[in-house]
Chain length 405, copies 2
């Protein structure tokens, strides 16, 4: 007997036919004594349709009301999925976020789960019901409906799994699991059986889009093993957990990630005085612009320095206008902006005790004649800034180096 939480995304429940497919699969895999909670998102495009409707009423939808509106999407899904289970003779009951005991912060449209009161879910499971829970939504301390923002249904699933002490939280998705690199770029990319929370978080942060970081964090903090698997077939995927339970081929480097949502700003000829960098980066921080890599040149012969930093392409306009303002205010420096850049990274908790890993990465890039514009490191990762057009070659070169055939 197992207690399982299974999360299906919007495309898995986009039509009545797909809903029946999900239900058939769950019933096919279910052992008689298994206790099953299903977490579902809104059907297919229904969220977009609700957003369109809101847009036609006002272009400035209050966030509180946006949450009231969007939460209806999952409520429709849960009712239909529960009904489909019942129509196949298996008792099921749907629960909205508030009924399932999901309590959140009051940061509307991007709330975080603060607590799960899972008594109702546990009671329904004990009564032999399959429990269908609306992902992405909860109730805040004011009694208001909230939504969790992007990837919120994954977090709901992990939170419910923690609340009912489930054996696994299974995330059904359009990929087979977590790969050693993006399989669309690296033909030899290998699916991992397992990966630790810390490595998964680092991969996600560095551009691997399989799981939302918040859901992984929630799993880490509550010790919920997360099984990322395909919604198309029944093969096992990748289990994200605290520690490895199986010995896989390569433990030093677990994955190669890349991120093309990167832009660089090079500030040149800044007077080499204390406080300049502070002024620049605090202005960026105040505007909520996340700065990733920062490289300060070694002292220049003319007594000035260069500073290169990266932001997401999404934040580039904002960042540029801040630097522009600072330039008007202080004078004395120039800057230029580059968007033809990308970041490649290696991630692995094992690199802590393995010298030469970073050198191996640089060597692989050098052999492929790829120039490195900047380097940054964390305890379990090394990242290089390169030209965007070099991404495919870079990821393949690094992957071949660390995952030889």
């Amino acid at each position: 007997m197992a207690t399982l939480v299974k999360k299906f995304g919007g495309s898995s429940v986009s039509t009545p036919e797909n809903i029946h497919n999900v239900v058939d699969r769950v019933l096919h895999e279910k052992k008689p004594e298994d206790k099953i909670v299903i977490v579902v998102s809104a059907m297919g495009d229904s969220t977009d349709e609700l957003l369109d409707l809101a847009q036609r009423v006002t272009t400035e939808m209050p966030k509180r009301e946006m949450d009231v509106l969007l939460a209806t999407g999952e409520q429709v899904s849960i009712a239909l999925v529960a009904a489909a289970f019942c129509s196949k003779g298996h008792p099921a009951v749907s629960l909205t976020g508030f009924q399932a005991g999901i309590r959140t912060s009051d940061f509307h449209t991007k709330a975080t789960i603060t607590n799960v009161f899972a008594e109702r879910v546990i009671r329904e499971l004990a009564n032999g019901k399959i429990v269908i829970v609306a992902g992405f939504q909860g109730l805040d301390q004011n009694g208001d409906i909230t939504t969790l923002g992007r990837g919120g249904s994954d977090t709901t699933a992990v939170a419910i799994a923690a609340g009912i002490n489930a054996d696994y939280c299974e995330i059904y998705t359009d990929v087979d699991g977590v790969y050693s690199a993006d399989p669309r770029i690296v033909a030899e990319a290998q699916k991992m059986q397992e990966i630790t929370f810390g490595e998964m978080l680092e991969l996600a942060r560095l551009g691997a889009g399989v799981m939302q970081p918040r859901a992984v964090e929630y799993g880490e903090h509550n010790g919920v093993a997360i099984h990322v698997r395909s919604s198309f077939h029944e093969e096992l995927g990748t289990i994200i957990r605290e520690e490895y339970t199986v010995q896989e081929k390569n433990f030093v480097i677990r994955g190669v990630a890349h991120d093309t949502n990167v832009a660089k700003i090079a500030v040149k000829g800044v007077p080499d005085q204390p406080g300049i960098a502070y002024k620049l980066f605090s202005a960026l921080a105040n505007a909520n612009v996340d700065v990733d890599m920062i490289i300060q040149s070694v002292r220049d012969i003319e007594g000035s320095i260069d500073i290169l930093f990266t932001v997401t392409k999404t934040d580039l306009v904002e960042a540029t206008s801040i630097v522009e303002l600072l330039k008007e205010e202080m004078g004395g420096f120039t800057f230029d902006v580059g968007i033809n850049v990308a970041k490649v990274s290696i991630v692995g908790a094992g690199m802590l005790g393995s010298p030469g890993i970073a050198a191996g990465m640089f060597g692989a890039l050098a052999d492929a004649k790829i120039n490195i514009a900047a380097i940054s490191t964390s305890e379990i990762s090394v990242s290089c800034l390169i030209k965007e057009s070099d991404v495919k070659a870079a990821v393949n070169a690094i992957h071949t180096h660390f995952f030889p055939k």
Copy 2:
């Protein structure tokens, strides 16, 4: 300063444009200190769309899940209406049924309101907000979402009005108010300024479709004055209340109602023995068939009697099969069915102390050469069964008699 609950139906909020019209009208009529609660139904055809979707998943949607599904309709409306108020600079907040404190029985799809915990609504009003409440829905004692069935939003509005001690509950509808007869049939029909709860309930029971009886009953039990008025213009409509506050022209008869959803069954040659009528009508009651008029013939010369009774056309098939079964079981009688019948009624609390009212009605019908097949009376009404094709002439003749120009 007034505290008002205003209920708008699905057609009033069927499009973003209509939503803005409702909001403009409310803001136009609102005095600065007025406290306003708006109760809305689901947008236009959205309930039908949800029903279609359910039908595509299963033809046997569990009623509990049907309620979870249908409740999303009003939730979409309230978010958009609240957003529209905010977009015009007036603070507003939406509340679902459960947030507004609507507690109901657990009779899914046809729940009745058992309690209103209006603290949240009162608090939001005190904070200067216009409060938008989802009609038609509530929460039962199990924490499950329920819906109230047909006309449920009217009942929500009246219940909220009772909970916050509102001055009036205004029901905006596609008619101007309550008329002395159906204005589509009687050109001279007069709009009433006021009508009592008892008379309104009797009119509704006898076929006048302006208000759902349950909402009127709720108003009566809680002393909430209900103002039925047009959603198209700002003229006053009809106020349903405990007692008259103005002297109108005709107090004896308040209205002429008619109902064409009537069928008759004539059972002939029943042995004149005790218990036969009991057997017939208890069988009908067990099948939930509402019997309206019952006429038993005076003793027949051959020692048998005839019984004529009416049911709704909707229940006719069920009723016929019950009589058929009884005939097979008992034998000895024949029966025939008539659907070309209708009921015309007069309603007025004043008739209690005014003899000759019924005679006036019969005389008006006789003068118009309309045959009466059966008669039934209550304390405040008289009804006649006539041919369906005579309805228009009958209603006009009776109206002309009691409402002379």
